[in-house]
């Protein structure tokens, strides 16, 4: 299954290497990759498409968020990652 991530990050040296390491260690193939550098100190934007199932995509998303320079990760395909049960838990009063 292809998963698309939109990543915003501080445009700092080493960002791409760290991102690549996460995918390499998980042995996840990159299907598409685009990078737009930050202008005037603004954030860089990365669009990334990888081949991964839901579980591993969720894991990758959390790893991406752990990177110091990454400020936002949005998965635009599949179900939202890091889907903790409490997020869908509905509490009702009698």
């Amino acid at each position: 299954m292809q998963q698309t991530f939109e990543i915003k990050a501080k445009d700092a040296p080493g960002l791409m290497a760290r991102l690549e390491t996460i995918l390499r260690r998980q042995r996840l193939p990159i299907r598409s990759f685009s990078f737009e550098g930050g202008v005037g100190g603004g954030p860089a934007r990365i669009d990334l498409v990888i081949e991964a199932d839901e579980e591993r995509s969720s894991f990758v998303e959390r790893q991406l968020m752990r990177l110091m320079d990454v400020t936002e990760v949005v998965r635009t395909s599949g179900t939202p990652a890091f889907a903790q049960p409490e997020l869908t838990f509905e509490e009702r009063t009698a």
């Binding site: 080493g14 760290r18 959390r62 790893q63 752990r66 110091m68 890091f82 409490e86 509490e91």
Partner: protein
């Protein structure tokens, strides 16, 4: 800007001096380092600073010493190396700190910016090399950014899940002038709380479990949550097992303690995990040395998983009740919500397991068993609450089994990476951080020889650490695996060792030699009496002894061997 910073007028100074003053302001008391050409501007700036620099004899030892300091004190340890080989020698220690979530700050000098990328003398891309073994790292190219980067690095090291960071500064940047406004403080990150709904679900699961078990890892110690773990265990009457990194988070002499679990853990801890209906994992990560074959691990259990790092939750074992947050904070939230489950039957079953398969050995004859050597010293010193460091191998596992820890931060070892050579330099760091405490390094003959040059530093600094070298003339754990899994084809494991006592004396340490069981007590007494330099006790032990229980890697719990089958036959 803080009030502290306002007291300082804006001055022009070298970034190296600004860095040194930032380190002082950040509370750095010790730096474990080794100088070299590129680092000289920083060393010059540290000259006269109120920071004690320990001249390590190898940078790997500097990183491990920083780890020891951090693990004993909870504050970041600092190591310092020059460019090129100095920096690359730190990599093992950084990786070890990454695996064990230890906050250390590595400062490395780099060749001048004009030489970067040109293969200059002693140039190594240490930032590139350590990207994967640090929480974050920085190459600072502007003198004005040096002080702020140092402040930020310290904050990153301790925030969230602690870990190592590295700051690399080229020589000319260290020498460059900066408009520095004096030290500042970057406010600490607030501990993360768990959301209330998740908490209530976890509390309900705990309150209604019949066979719950607390599985406690190093995250509890990092978070300072040992008191909360005790309150939870006592309130809910839940047995507790700890990982190697979690030793001391719960008193191991308490009846609710099951000791360490996993490959060389107690049989009863592993049986309890297997049979549990609820595993409450606190700051632990279900690594392969704990679970064996994941598919058959704890088949009846639901899992409450509390961790500060969301990447760990569900990474190896699905979390039915995830709790993302700081262990201490979340446990304080959780405690009022938890009732007392009915665990009497469960505790009785565990008591029967404890009686069936206790940790045991039989010290007889003239050859010293390593377990006996370790337990004898534990019994002699337990009233003094020593801090013990271990190295890696069989002696480490026996120490985990027989050195009972009742308090956190008193068992310092290399858990995740399993780095031989960790123990002695780590003991140096521990002793620096805890100068009034008794510090003991339990070591093996193989591992001691990987970083034994650190003894020179310990002597130079008159550190009264006690080093016990358990000398079985083998790389014991490798030998054990060849014995059990490679049909006793022993290869590349036998060690023709030096006389460790003479070696220690050559360094200037006190030294004692033990060949027979009855000599242990007097030798330990004599070593414990030495207070002005290190003391080494060289103990010749049985080279044929294997470490049990043993749960072979990647297998199900049925494969666990509780005791030495050869001894049963005899």
């Amino acid at each position: 800007m803080s009030a502290q910073a306002k007291a300082h007028p804006k001055t022009r100074t070298s970034s190296a001096r600004a860095m040194a003053e930032e380190l002082v302001a950040l509370g750095v008391t010790h730096i474990f380092g080794h100088p070299g050409g590129a680092a000289l501007p920083l060393y010059d700036a540290l000259h006269g600073a109120p920071i004690r620099h320990l001249l390590m004899r190898h940078e790997q030892g500097a990183a491990h010493a920083a780890q020891g300091y951090a693990r004993a004190t909870g504050r970041p340890g600092v190591c310092l190396a020059t460019s090129g080989p100095g920096a690359t020698n730190l990599v093992t220690g950084l990786t070890d700190a990454m695996m064990d979530s230890t906050p250390i700050v590595a400062l490395t000098a780099q060749v001048a910016t004009s030489l970067l990328g040109r293969d200059g003398f002693q140039e190594a891309d240490i930032v590139g090399m350590t990207q994967n073994v640090t929480k974050h790292n920085w190459l600072v190219l502007d003198p004005d950014e040096v002080p702020g980067t140092i402040r930020h690095a310290f904050r990153v090291a301790v925030s969230g899940r602690p870990g190592p960071v590295l700051v690399d500064v080229p020589r000319d940047v260290l020498q460059g002038e900066t408009s520095w406004e004096g030290p500042d403080v970057e406010p600490a990150e607030a501990p993360r709380r768990a959301d209330p709904v998740s908490l209530r679900r976890a509390a309900f699961a705990i309150s209604n479990a019949r066979r719950p078990i607390l599985y406690v890892g190093g995250g509890v110690i990092s978070s300072g949550a040992s008191a909360e773990v005790r309150r939870l265990a006592y309130k809910a009457r839940i047995p507790v097992t700890t990982t190697l990194m979690g030793k001391g988070a719960f008193p191991e002499t308490d009846p609710l303690s099951l000791g360490m679990l996993g490959m060389h853990g107690t049989a009863y801890a592993n049986w309890a995990m297997h049979d549990a209906d609820l595993i409450i994992a606190l700051g632990a990560r279900f690594d392969d040395r704990i679970t064996g074959k994941l598919a058959t691990f704890a088949p009846h259990a639901k899992v409450v998983h509390l961790d500060v790092d969301p990447v760990e939750i569900g990474k190896n074992r699905k979390a039915d009740f995830p709790l993302h947050g700081d262990a201490k904070t979340v446990l304080r939230q959780l405690l009022p919500l938890v009732g007392a489950p009915h665990t009497n039957g469960w505790l009785e079953k565990i008591a029967a397991w404890k009686a069936e398969a206790p940790l045991a050995y039989e010290q007889g004859g003239d050859v010293i068993l390593p377990q006996f050597a370790i337990e004898t010293l534990w019994k002699m010193t337990r009233g003094r609450r020593p801090i013990v460091t271990t190295d890696v191998g069989q002696h480490q596992m026996w120490a985990a089994q027989f050195w009972k820890c009742d308090e956190p931060n008193e068992f310092v070892t290399s858990g995740g990476l399993g780095t031989m050579g960790f123990g002695l330099p780590a003991a140096i760091g521990v002793q620096c951080g805890m100068p009034g405490r008794l510090v003991i390094n339990l070591n093996g003959d193989g591992s001691f020889q990987q970083t034994m040059q650190a003894m020179a530093t310990a002597v130079e600094e008159r550190l009264p650490i006690k080093v016990v070298v358990l000398d079985n003339q083998n790389l014991g754990m490798v030998r054990q695996w060849q014995d059990l899994f490679y049909e006793r084809r022993f290869f590349a494991v036998e060690l023709k060792n030096p006389d460790f006592a003479k070696l220690a004396e050559a360094f200037g340490a006190a030294a004692f030699r033990v060949n027979r069981p009855e000599e242990l007590g007097p030798a330990y007494e004599a070593a414990l009496a030495v207070d002005d330099r290190p003391a080494l006790v060289h103990v010749r032990t049985d080279g044929n002894e294997n470490c049990y229980p043993m749960w072979p890697a990647g297998q199900s719990i049925e494969a666990m061997v509780v005791s030495d089958p050869r001894k049963k036959k005899s």
